[in-house]
Amino acid sequence: MIFALQIVAQLLGFGGVSIFASATPQRQNAGSVHSGDEDADAQLMLGFQKGQRSCFDQLFQKYKRPVINFAYRFTGRQDRAEELAQEIFVKCFSAKESYRPEAKFSTWLFRIARNHCLNEVRKPEYRHQVSEYSEQEKVSPIASKAVTPEAALAARELQRALRVALSALPERQRTALILSRFHHMSYDEIAATMKVSLSAVKSLLNRAKEFMVTEVQKHGVRHDL
């Protein structure tokens, strides 16, 4: 069986994707926040709770990019991502008293982000969003590395297929996958953010990956390239 993704990736000469890619997850993606900083984040949040606005500003600067990208991945809307992120930070600012230092700051933040984005995608305007907003998306590193027009086109198709697949995932699977792949959370952190069990996270991610493989194959990744 020919695996379309691998063919496209190999034709594009994208080194990070191989049929024999390592099973170890690659966790060097930009936009992530490492868990080692969590103590510092908690201290900043406690400072903010005591009235130090500068503490909030530090957290804002640190997390604005991850939150923008979370909103983008979750909703599939590049044009709304910044507004949503700003609204999420406004909520965090207003709900500062609800933060408890026992919980990780990022867990608390992404829980708010998830709930906010969930409310957003329930709006009727999101029903046919994928085809409507596909033209304005940012060019992926894969496409920018493509050396021929055909390869660039294939890369754009692949990018769109991935975005469509991510948007088509059921909400819980999508959240788990985004937090895992783009924010590099451990399964424990995902479970805490989503308020589900560890086994539920395992199951959600397994199903999400199976779905992604199937959907990417379905959505316009060309076999003849």
Partner: protein, 165 residues
């Protein structure tokens, strides 16, 4: 280990989320099973492609826009607080006014129901029986037309005294 069990664990295996013994079991199965190996490779490749999706950078106006939104939200929250206070104030006043009216009404009703003993009460019946004659004469007086029989009226007390003697 069956393929069904293995496939359920593949995601956690790829993400390094399994304990060492479990990880060794999965690895042993995947090394021997072409079908499970293919599934693992497909998932791994798809996830690598997904991770290569572009990241958005905050626009230069992001911070300023956030501050504007924050001020707006704070102003709205303050307005809402004041509105809530006002919403509580009016019902409270209305309740007090309604209570006062109710008390007034109750007092009025109570006063109207507390009347002096009527002619039908046992006390007044006894009183009438004792002074029947006197009342009859008063009734006479009551039926006089104007002051035509003023003499009679003026002598009425004397007549009564005579009668009682």
């Amino acid at each position: 280990m069956t393929c069904r069990v293995c496939k359920k664990q593949l995601s956690a295996y790829a993400d390094g989320e399994l304990s060492s013994p479990r990880r060794a079991e999965i690895k042993a199965h995947v090394d021997d099973c072409a079908a499970c190996k293919l599934v693992l490779e497909q998932q791994t490749s798809a996830m690598a492609l997904l991770s290569a999706q572009p990241e958005l950078e905050p626009s230069p106006s992001f911070d300023v826009d956030f501050e504007r939104k924050l001020r707006l939200a704070q102003a709205e929250a303050e307005q809402s607080k004041q509105g809530k206070r006002a919403r509580w104030r009016w019902p409270a006043l209305a309740t007090v006014a309604a209570g006062a009216c109710a008390i007034l009404l109750a007092v009025t009703v109570m006063r109207s129901t507390v009347r002096p003993p009527t002619a039908s009460s046992p006390i007044s019946d006894l009183h009438v029986a004792r002074n029947l004659d006197l009342i009859e004469n008063y009734q006479v007086v009551d039926n006089l037309d104007g002051l035509e029989d003023f003499d009679v009226i003026t002598g009425l007390e004397g007549l009564l005294e005579e009668k009682t003697q």
